[in-house]
């Protein structure tokens, strides 16, 4: 997460377009170390890769211009449309109160997405899901829960207790 935002900021410093090798060189990083951040930013539509150049998209610029709560809202919208989040959130929502256990989700990933390394994928989902206020996870109880839209937007008038 922080790496991806850092990469977008570096791109901004280079006026939105720069050779990927130059970024690695500038940051004293191996190209391999840059790739996870490039992949993440590309998946979210914040940058494009064209013949070795990284290009900041308009969506990426918009993301950078927002404060942390605006960034969370953007990621909430974008991530909830990605196949993997859609898939997992739908699965968790089938359970009572949209809550299940880590083991349950790991089994689901193993069963439905055998190409992915389940533990790593789970950690990734939790990190991004927490940031984007899509998922809540309590590592003590192992419970994972889908954040309901009503709780994610505290702007609604608060009268009485929410049902």
């Amino acid at each position: 997460m922080s790496q991806m935002i850092g990469l977008l900021e570096v791109l901004e410093d280079f006026n939105g377009r720069v050779d990927v090798a130059k970024v690695a060189d500038d940051l004293l990083l191996e190209l391999d170390d840059l790739l996870p951040a490039v992949d993440a930013a590309e998946l979210l539509g914040f940058l494009k890769v064209t013949s070795g150049d990284l290009i900041l998209t308009d969506e990426g610029k918009r993301f950078l211009s927002r404060g942390s709560s605006g960034r969370k809202k953007m990621l909430n919208r974008i991530l909830s449309k990605t196949p993997i989040f859609k898939f997992v959130i739908t699965f968790i929502k089938q359970h009572e109160e949209a809550e299940t256990t880590k083991d349950d989700v790991i089994d689901f990933i193993r069963r439905e997405m055998p190409d992915l390394e389940a533990e790593t994928t789970f950690r990734w989902l939790v990190e991004w899901g927490r940031y984007a206020l899509l998922l809540r996870y309590d590592s003590n109880s192992g419970k994972i829960k889908v954040v309901q839209p009503t709780t994610a937007q505290p702007t609604a008038p608060q009268e009485g207790k929410p049902q």
Binding site: M1, S2, Q3, M4, I5, G6, L7, E9, V10, D13, F14, D26, L27, L28, L29, D33, L34, A37, S68, S69, R71, K72, R123, V126, E127, G129, R130, Y131, A132, L133, L135, R136, Y137, D138, S139, V147
Partner: protein, 251 residues
């Protein structure tokens, strides 16, 4: 105007009973003003971290005086908070609980502590991570918690000891930006920031003034005012000129 922090002829030596004590810092004279971003740079082992600890009252100098707002420092100063290179979070506490630790000993209700901590959660972009434990966090997120814990007490001076050194370069880029935003954010702004770093580029990018220390025992060889306009481009030739100048003094 009285400086926020003032050090007069501060010397620090470790070990006693020898004819020539092991001096770490020698004859340091230094003031930190209100609303200033100062950075202390120097080679490793020049006593930079010790200097920060002396300012906060965590370590007493062997010789010389330390003043906070004109009053001699005798104990840990309440108006200061520190951010550490290694984050220094409690692994058995959640993110929210780690932030609340920053208010320990303050005479305010638990409710008010919780409210203030949640405010910092929001400012530092840690919403969604309240119940996470440090082991579940990336380095960047851990240092956000470290910053939130330091800022929760609304300090007048934020001290940072190599705050970005244990982060990967991309995360460090991002957090530097965040710290500058915080410094300019009236909601949390600590009046002054003192950052210790061995990274000259980082210091020139962020600070108004750079205090350059020599190798052990650390003495101040130069103070450089950085009047490049903000926001600065970390890759501009003007910035690099200053970086080269300061690097030349240390090497």
């Amino acid at each position: 105007m009285t400086p926020v922090i003032e050090l007069r002829n501060v010397t620090k030596a470790f070990g006693s009973g020898t004819a020539r004590p092991n001096a770490v810092l020698e004859q340091i004279n230094l003031s930190i003003e209100g609303h200033e971003f100062a950075s202390i740079v120097g080679p490793s082992g020049c006593g930079k971290s010790t200097l920060l600890r002396i300012m906060m009252g965590l370590t007493t100098p062997t010789d010389g005086e330390v003043y906070y707002r004109g009053k001699p420092v005798k104990d840990v100063v309440e108006g200061m908070a520190m951010v550490f290179q290694t984050f220094a979070l409690f692994p058995w506490l959640t993110v929210l609980q780690n932030i609340e630790i920053g208010l320990q000993g303050r005479k305010i209700s638990d409710d008010a502590k919780r409210k203030r901590s949640l405010k910092l959660v929001e400012i530092m972009g840690l919403e969604g991570f309240e119940e996470a434990y440090p082991r579940e966090l990336s380095g960047g997120m851990k240092q956000r918690v470290g910053l939130a814990r330091a800022l929760v007490s609304d300090p007048e001076v934020l001290l940072m000891d190599e705050p970005f050194s244990s982060l990967d370069p991309l995360t460090a880029t991002h957090l530097r930006e965040e710290v500058l935003d915080l410094w300019l954010n009236p909601e949390v702004s600590p009046g002054s920031v003192v950052m210790v770093t061995h990274n000259v580029e980082e210091a020139v990018y962020m600070a108004d003034r750079i205090i350059v220390l020599t190798h052990r025992p650390g003495t101040i060889i130069k103070e450089v005012h950085i009047d490049l306009p903000r926001p600065r481009n970390p890759r501009s030739p003007e910035l690099y000129r200053v970086v080269d100048e300061i690097t030349g003094m240390i090497a």
